[in-house]
């Protein structure tokens, strides 16, 4: 906007105004040594300059946060421990060590912190920030792929707590670690959580993250998880986004992968009115493999965005990217995937695939797969498909007496199965199939 004097002033949305007011008011109470405060100030300044990302910012073209985030919820207050405790486990039977981050803070009383395996430490991020833990501080600096990401900057400015998990060299975690992010409260509340997972050379771990709430409310979660894998480390990461259907969910996963390591992540986007799951990964050492997969289920007027950047910054790494969405009603699914292969990353093998299944006339899918390749001895490919259920398949099933709703259910589960079947954890696979079945029953019913 231009005023009469010819100078420009930036027009702020109410949500931006609210965030601008919140930071000065809250910063003194946010945890951290002076070095952390500087980091927060820098991140907040980046937000102040850019505002909320909007459609003219390429990375946010299909998910205009400025237009869609109308208000900013109040910071979540203290949770009711009994209500949180009463939540049924998201993944029954996974045998995981459950850590509860409720209303933005790790709650030791609700977390399974006893009998830690030798070589494993679990602590709170707030504590690490207060002590200016050098390793944790280093992990807070965004990797280049995420450097100008405003969702990440806002998280850095406002992060209250989270978990810090360290697994020493050559330690294999027998039980998965499951971080249950929960918001407790009847009215909309906001959280900013940062988790740090430092997995040593030759170590292995399964990390499950869930996001849920005790009440259906328009909560706003901003969760950033940072994972570093040493050489020959193996990590399976699973994110189950089960937020209320009114919620806004911003999640970011940044991963740095050492040499000869294996990293796999799976994102299930099952909740939230507006969701964006960001994954930024770098192969820093040669000869590693990575798999990035996800399944999205959307109905109503919900919107889900998967944004993925994978940089092969070393020779001879292999990555597989597979994201599948099922979209009903007037919902909208976005996939942005980018694989970077710099000149020195010879012998890279990368395959990216995204597919969208549209169940209604009003459903929308946007796919933007990109490859940026400077090396000349690589195998890279990408593909995107979008369509309805195959009439010939449906007719064959109907001709055997199977009712249409059940035939569709079997076909949709088969369609998502291509991604889900790759999840190593059986309890998670079972849970996902149950959730999908529930979703499909509700859709029909």
């Amino acid at each position: 906007m231009t005023d009469t004097m010819g100078t420009t002033t930036v027009l702020r949305t109410p949500a931006e105004e609210a965030l601008l007011k919140r930071y000065p008011a809250e910063k003194a109470s946010l945890p951290g040594a002076p070095a952390v405060a500087d980091l927060r100030d820098g991140a907040f300044a980046a937000f102040e300059k850019a505002g909320l990302p909007h459609r003219r910012v390429e990375a946010w073209k299909y998910t205009d946060l400025r237009a869609n985030l109308r208000t900013i919820a109040a910071p979540a207050g203290p949770p009711d421990h009994e209500r949180v405790r009463a939540l049924p486990p998201a993944v029954p039977g996974d045998g995981a060590r459950r850590l509860v981050v409720a209303n933005g803070r790790l709650v030791p009383e609700l977390s399974d912190l006893g009998g830690l395996e030798e070589g494993v430490t679990i602590g709170s991020l707030a504590e690490a920030l207060t002590h200016a833990d050098a390793e944790v501080l280093a992990a807070l600096r965004p990797i280049p792929e995420a450097a100008d990401n405003i969702a990440l900057s806002v998280n850095t400015a406002f992060m209250t707590d989270g978990v810090v998990v360290r697994v020493a060299d050559d330690v294999a975690l027998a039980r998965p670690i499951e971080i249950t992010h929960v918001i407790d409260g009847e009215t909309a509340a906001a959280t900013a959580v940062r988790n740090v997972f430092l997995i040593g050379n030759g170590a292995s771990a399964t990390l499950i993250e869930t996001t849920e709430a005790t009440y259906a409310a328009a909560h706003q979660t901003n969760i950033v998880s940072v994972v570093t894998l040493g050489d020959e480390a193996q990590v399976d990461h699973i994110r189950l986004q089960l937020d209320p259907l009114e919620a806004v969910s911003l999640t970011t996963l940044t991963v740095e992968i050492g040499a000869k390591a294996r990293f796999e992540t799976f994102n299930a986007a099952l909740g939230a009115a507006l969701a964006r799951a960001q994954v930024y990964a770098r192969f820093n050492g040669a000869g590693s493999t990575g798999a990035f997969r996800g399944a999205t289920l959307l109905s109503g007027r919900r919107h889900a965005d998967t944004t993925l950047v994978v940089t092969h910054d070393a020779e001879g790494c292999e990555s597989r990217e597979l994201y599948k969405a099922v979209i009903d009603d007037e919902a909208k699914s976005v996939f942005q995937g980018r694989i970077n292969v710099p000149a020195h990353a010879q012998k890279t093998d990368a395959r990216m695939m995204t597919a969208s299944l549209l169940l209604s006339e009003g459903a929308e899918a946007y796919a933007k797969p990109e490859l940026e390749i400077f090396a000349d001895d690589v195998q890279c490919g990408h593909g995107a498909t979008c369509g309805a259920l195959d009439d010939d398949l449906l007719f064959y099933m109907l001709a055997r007496g199977i009712p249409k709703s059940e035939a569709e259910k079997l076909l949709i589960i088969a369609y998502l199965g291509e991604a889900i079947d790759e999840v190593h954890n059986e309890a998670v696979r079972d849970m996902l199939i149950h959730r999908i079945e529930d979703w499909l029953e509700k859709r029909v019913g």
């Binding site: 010939d392 398949l393 007719f395 064959y396 099933m397 109907l398 001709a399 055997r400 007496g401 199977i402 009712p403 249409k404 059940e406 035939a407 079997l410 076909l411 589960i413 088969a414 369609y415 199965g417 291509e418």
Partner: protein, 249 residues
């Protein structure tokens, strides 16, 4: 029994069936032969309820009920079965899941509860064995990776499981070698009974040596132009369709 009366049907602007009449009584096997493009497969799809076709006139009664208003799955549970000329591969859907869903849909239509797992396993094992279908085949997704012959045997196995009162076999012999043809024919013959009837669509008389029909019809340009006993098939094999096609014109 099945009664087709004055059936007219079209796909897009092209009329394919032009007043087809056919009555199949319980226990009878009828063969329909005819040149390419006569409307044989169209007839099978229309009976099964594929919605690419528009029925413009006529009716089809299965045991006295007009099935043209019914959904394909309702026709199936009412007792109609189509053995597809080209059985469909369904990636990601396990054969056993598919068979069980089909079987339970039929049971539900009869007012019965779901089949128990042991009963289901026993039924599948017995039925599959009769059609040379190995347990390994049934571990795969529906028809995925099956040879042409395996797919056709799988169709007949499904028919045996679902026990229809009326079955249409659409070129079930195409793509089969003589051994596979015998297996399929034995499977069909085992299902012949006084209260079950069949329409067998084929190009070649060969199949009819194994599945011996009570009646043979010539379908040409959307209508039945000649009917007779099994000797009609031999005549067609010898002299071709030329004489009948002219009759239709």
């Amino acid at each position: 029994m099945l009664e087709i009366k004055n059936l007219h049907a079209r796909i897009d602007d092209r009329e394919i069936l032009k007043g087809l009449d056919l009555t199949v009584n319980p226990g009878e096997v009828h063969a329909i032969m005819g040149p390419n493009g006569a409307g044989k497969s169209t007839l099978s799809y229309i009976l099964a309820g594929k919605d690419d076709y528009e029925v413009t006139e006529g009716e089809v009664l299965l045991n006295g009920v007009n099935i043209l208003e019914m959904e394909p799955n309702e026709r199936a549970t009412a007792g109609l079965f189509l053995a597809f000329q080209y059985p469909i591969e369904i990636p990601g859907v396990a054969s056993m899941t598919f068979l069980r869903a089909a079987l339970n849909a039929h049971r539900k239509a009869r007012g019965e509860g779901d089949i128990t797992t042991p009963d289901f396993m026993r039924l599948i094992k017995d039925t599959a064995a009769k059609l040379n279908i190995s347990p390994e085949m049934l571990k795969r997704p529906v028809n995925v990776g099956f040879s042409g012959g395996e797919k056709k045997r799988n169709e007949v196995m499904q028919m045996a499981l679902l026990q229809p009162s009326f079955a249409i076999l659409d070129e079930t012999d195409s793509g089969l070698d003589i051994d596979a043809l015998k297996v399929v024919a034995d499977g069909v013959n085992a299902l012949r009974s006084p209260d079950r009837s069949f329409v067998v669509i084929t190009h070649y008389q060969r199949l009819l040596n194994y599945i011996v029909p009570d009646f043979v019809h010539v379908l040409s340009a959307g209508r039945i132009v000649a009917s007779g006993g099994k000797e009609l098939a031999l005549d067609l094999e010898k002299n071709g369709y030329a004489g009948y096609v002219q009759d239709a014109a």
